[in-house]
Point group: C2
DNA sequence: CATAGTACTATGCGTTGTATAGTATTATAC
DNA sequence: GTATAATACTATACAACGCATAGTACTATG
C-alpha cells in the first residue's frame, strides 16, 4: 500500500484500537496486525503526538520489574475519530469520482 | 477536510480528470471544483511531478498570444490510477475497522 | 548461552499539500 | 479610462507524517 495513502488514517486507527480497552505500544502493534501493518517507528511517535494533543492519557504499570506505558483514550480522542469518519466521506467522493472516470474510459 | 487524508488521492484525482480529454492547469482546477478543493499551489507541483515520472506528457498551444500548457495522460499514468483503486480497498479496511470499533463503543 | 520476544527511545529523511508571492495578459464593470 | 476580476503559470519555503535505522534493556525458551 502506498505510504501517502495511510496518512491521517493510522493515527485514528490507533485511537480506535483503544476504545475497547487501554493498551500499550507493543500490544497495540499486535492487535492492529490484521488491520494494517504498523511498525514501532510509526506507532511510538503517533502515541506521543496523540498524548501531546490530549487525545490520549498515559499511565505506567510495573511489569516484570519494568514500567509498561498504558494509554487510554480521552473525549478529545473520541472526537477526533468522529471527525475522521466524516472526513472519510469526502475522501470517498474523491475515490468515487476517480472510479467513475475510469469506467467512462473503458 | 483534514490535509493529511488527501495525500496520495489528489494526484490520482488529477490523473483521472485527464482520462476524458487533455486539459491545462486552470481548467483542471475548475473541473475538479465539485469533487475536491484544489488550489494552484497544489495543482501545479502535482502536474510537474506527474510529468517528471512519465505519468503525463505535455504540449503547448498558443492561446491569445500566450502558451497554454496541455497535459495528456500516459499508459503509466493509467496504471497509477489502477494501483490507487487497489490501494484504496486496503484503506477501506482501515476505515471499516475504525467504524466497527466505534459502533462497539456505543 | 544464544536467540527470540518484549518494550521503548532517539535521530533523520522524503513526500506532499499548501501558503505566499510574483509575473503577465485579457475581459468586465464602474 | 482605470480598477477589478479572471486567466495562466512559476518559484520558494514550510509542516506533518510515515518509516528506516539504531540503540537500550530485560525476560523467556531452546
Amino acid at each position: 500500500m502506498e505510504v501517502q495513502l495511510k496518512r491521517g488514517s493510522l493515527e485514528v486507527c490507533v485511537l480506535a484500537s483503544l476504545l475497547k480497552e487501554d493498551s500499550y505500544g507493543y500490544k497495540i502493534i499486535q492487535s492492529l496486525q490484521e488491520v494494517v501493518e504498523i511498525s514501532e517507528s510509526t506507532l511510538y511517535p503517533i502515541l506521543r503526538r496523540l498524548e501531546a494533543s490530549n487525545c490520549l492519557k498515559s499511565y505506567s504499570v510495573e511489569h516484570n520489574g519494568r514500567l509498561r506505558k498504558f494509554y487510554s483514550i480521552t473525549e478529545k480522542g473520541k472526537d477526533k475519530i468522529k471527525e475522521y469518519l466524516q472526513d472519510f466521506q469526502e475522501l470517498m467522493n474523491i475515490f468515487n469520482y476517480i472510479a467513475k472516470e475510469v469506467r467512462k474510459d473503458d
